[in-house]
Symmetry: C3
Subunit: 404 residues, 3 copies
């Protein structure tokens, strides 16, 4: 069996069509993706409310990587590679906790909360502790959201911040709390999961509950009507115009992002059963606007901002044919569980939606594996996915280009 | 580690000896087999009695493939690749059932029972539904047996039909019913299972129950005596002379097949306990002949025709080191369960025989995996297996030759 | 992804540092290790007390290999590859037992206890039984210990014997009995397990129970003090000077080995709880010496000889990322269970120690898998491991050199 090179595979890529099988199955493609995408772009690691106190930490893990996200003595948020500089053991074995320092369970090398090597027994005089701290990952806070980049020189978030800071303020990004986090394992390549998230062509056939609330499940023509009506009646509490710098549109050296506001269907207020509210309003909002906002930062982190809660979606590869979708539910940090919101009501819509997607995406992979699978033509409702695919293919091609 | 090329492996092949280890372990060999053998030759998919009514269907699956075998509106039997032409999802998720159409669970593209694309929502005007039906597999009926070929230009069955049609009529091939089907998973390469089926050198040590009924378990010399006795006393209700066009003997462009009639041991009538009958006589048979017939069509489908029932054996690969043996038990379609036959009695002999073979074949694979495994000399009772190996090696060599 | 060649990987090897990731993950490296190390060097298979009677046998298995170790009619210990010379089936399926001969369960080829082919049904006249016996592995007894080599021309044990025979006599190597054997599966490359065994840098942080008994867990300086004290007070019942011909130090054509005697901490007598005795004294010993001896033979077999029992450690690969540690507990063959020793007391220390190591080694592998793992500097307490690594890398390089 002679395999095509990755370049040949890329050259066969046909805009407007689904990807060839090799992109979803080949381990060399997967390894290139890890290097060019996952070890380079910004990914949501978690939220500051998970590590309120000095010494609090949690692990952020995907593929073969484990990263310790910790609150230092100085109150900063830092991210350290969970790989001992001696012989490579995992240093921290607990998924979350509170520590004074991180002591490797193998030979007791001991690292501070800031990752510096504090103690290494019986090493000879030539050994320099100061260059043997845990490898550092870059950290940026977007409101209370902790983003991590494993790149040597990470993409800039400046453009994104100057464009969206006011929007974040409007939604109270630094006044939220993580109410619930849940992991969904999917037996499929990670791209099939991300593609699934990025198009609403499947919403009507597959997600009845979502389709009853969101205008996005309608045809582009009908959606446009709802959008016009929404814009006409909105009081403009939050930004309504789109910011599209994501994927193929990002400026050189900057991380891609996108913001957009979409109408809900008439009389729908939020993502509760029947479109009902599920918590207290976020940020500066004073009333339900009948819309929700989409915010994306980096290639695998997405947010859906309802007026009274925010849902985060993160897609991470475990191997070439296995990935996870992690869902984060955020509420106004003044909301009290049991009084202002019920966890069941809050998580209902996206829990059932992702469970349905698990089945869909797994069956997509099974069919893609067939010798008879061919790239198929995409519909007009898959235009956003189309941007993702264009960007994705370019990412494989130009590993050294820093800004997509 | 430098691996030999497949050609080098083939060049080392030594007639009269078992295959080298690489044929049983290498993934490149396996991929070549899938293309040159399993996507080319005719394989038993099932039986018309499984899809009596319009809209009835079942899935036929192996390796990475899933094929929908369905009864169309016009009453025909068709086979469709279970891969949506949009983005490749499995279209049909149930193993069997009845459907008006096949609607993809992802984006609701909808296909008729004949595989044609009926509906695809919101595709732009340039999209041509008529060329986006489900990929078709070729179907041929042999009596009520449904054979499927995934080749573009399948091998011809004409020679086989003109040679054997009278024989099929004698056994009532179009007057049978599938009484029971059972799957046996084997942790071994598919060839070790097919080789096992094709030789009776192991019958005496491994299959006492079979050896008590079938003369084939005896030495070639003793078998020949039984055969002469049988031929002398037979009333000649069914064909007794062999038709050997299988494997290396098939005519160019035609599928290989074989037919032969073998004596049972004295006083044995059928495959029941003690050689007893298990159902009513098949086809035109008016009495028990003390023999059984072997019929093979394509490389992985075999039938053992007793006078009162027929057993089908189908070997399919799941991966390079895992395969299945599917057993089908057929009876005269006028036989009534409970009255004319008992399912336990009908399936007894081959259920225990294949269960013993599962263990044997798995232990064969374990030994073949050793660095110390070498090709071993075959016995005279493995001559049929020898034909299979000759044909198999040639199949790897000449992928484009159409007729083996 | 272009991989380095193994030679390039070797050329990057830096003495005094842990190995690069590729050595622990690459399947081509693993295959080279099997050939250059495991199919060449001497490995402990078991003990004569496991096969006292004629026809007694047990299986010794690793990677894809299975070896039958049996007591022949003449009372000899022989080792046969468990691979039928006909079509490769496993011949012997039971892990241990007593047999008159080994008859292949597939086609009933039958082999004597000495491995010779006795019977093969219906083979034609050209078939020569005398050259179709089971492949033989080499066997050497060291006291009652059964060592096996799968090499064509095994490394010599003569130097080792002339150097250590008196030592073996002192400890009564031919007057022991296997009291207990236990297998520990570890999800890591076998070298991480062997490295773990070979350094006591981790003893204090990880093995409190061991560290309370053995001076080896102390710093080299403190250990040296204990050693001097021990040498000053010892009555010299057993050899105290080291024999270092292991790894990089072995003579050409000879198997590597090592012997050394180490003090226990004050008042410690053996490996029981609190350093207490656990059985009757071994060999010629007349009193507890306050020390234990280390004996290693070949790259993966180690012994720790306490004055009243001996513990054997054997590390075997199952695949590139999975290995086992087999522990053998030996006692004076005159000791009676229940009276002279208690199995729980005997096995306590090393059972808990290896269980702790299982966790340590698995977490070492997880960290080594990271893209951010780098070779780390070794401490002075890892000098023995350093010798192992030097030898290991040389073993990959010079496959044909016979003596390491």
């Amino acid at each position: 069996m002679v395999h095509q090179s990755i370049s040949e595979l890329i050259n066969h890529y046909k805009q407007g069509y689904s990807l060839e099988q090799g992109f979803y199955k080949r381990s060399d493609v997967y390894e290139t993706e890890i290097k060019n995408i996952f070890l380079k772009h910004w990914i949501l690691a978690g939220h500051v409310s998970q590590i309120n106190a000095v010494g609090d930490y949690f692990l952020f893990e995907f593929d073969k990587e484990s990263i310790i996200v910790a609150r230092t003595q100085g109150g900063e948020v830092k991210a350290h590679l969970n790989v001992c500089r001696h012989r490579g053991s995992r240093v921290c074995l607990e998924k979350k906790g509170n520590a004074k320092r991180f002591t490797c369970p193998y030979h007791a090398w001991s690292y501070g909360l800031d990752g510096a090597l504090i103690a290494a027994r019986m090493m000879d005089d030539s050994f320099d502790k100061s260059v043997n701290g845990l490898h550092q990952a870059h950290v940026e806070l977007v409101g209370g959201l902790i983003f991590v980049s494993l790149a040597e020189n990470p993409l800039s978030l400046k453009g994104m911040r100057s464009n969206l800071d006011v929007t974040f303020e409007g939604f109270g990004f630094d006044k939220m709390r993580l109410a619930k986090q849940k992991r969904y394992e999917i037996n499929a390549n990670w791209k099939l999961a991300v593609e699934n998230y990025q198009e609403c062509y499947h919403c009507t056939p597959s997600h009845l509950e979502y389709a009853k609330i969101h205008a996005l499940s309608l045809s582009p023509q009908k959606f446009e009507e709802h959008r016009k009506n929404y814009l006409a009646r909105t009081t403009g509490n939050v930004r309504t115009d789109a910011a599209n710098y994501y994927f193929d549109l990002a400026k050189s050296g900057e991380e891609g992002y996108q913001y957009d506001r979409h109408p809900l269907l008439p009389n729908m207020k939020s993502g509760g059963l029947g479109g009902k509210p599920v918590s207290v309003l976020l940020g500066n909002l004073t009333s339900y606007e009948g819309a929700s906002s989409e915010f994306m930062l980096g290639p695998v982190t997405f947010f859906l901002i309802y007026d009274d809660h925010m849902v985060g979606y993160r897609f991470l590869p475990l191997s070439v044919d296995k990935c996870v979708c992690d869902i984060f539910w955020f509420v106004n940090d003044e909301a009290e569980e049991g009084k202002d919101y019920d966890l069941g009501d809050l998580t209902w819509l996206w829990d059932i939606t992702i469970q349905a997607d698990e089945v869909i995406i797994t069956n997509n992979q099974l069919g893609v594996n067939s010798h008879f699978y061919q790239s198929g033509k995409l519909s007009q409702m898959e235009d956003f996915q189309q941007h993702f695919l264009d960007w994705y293919v370019a990412s494989l091609k130009h590993p050294s280009r820093s800004g997509f």
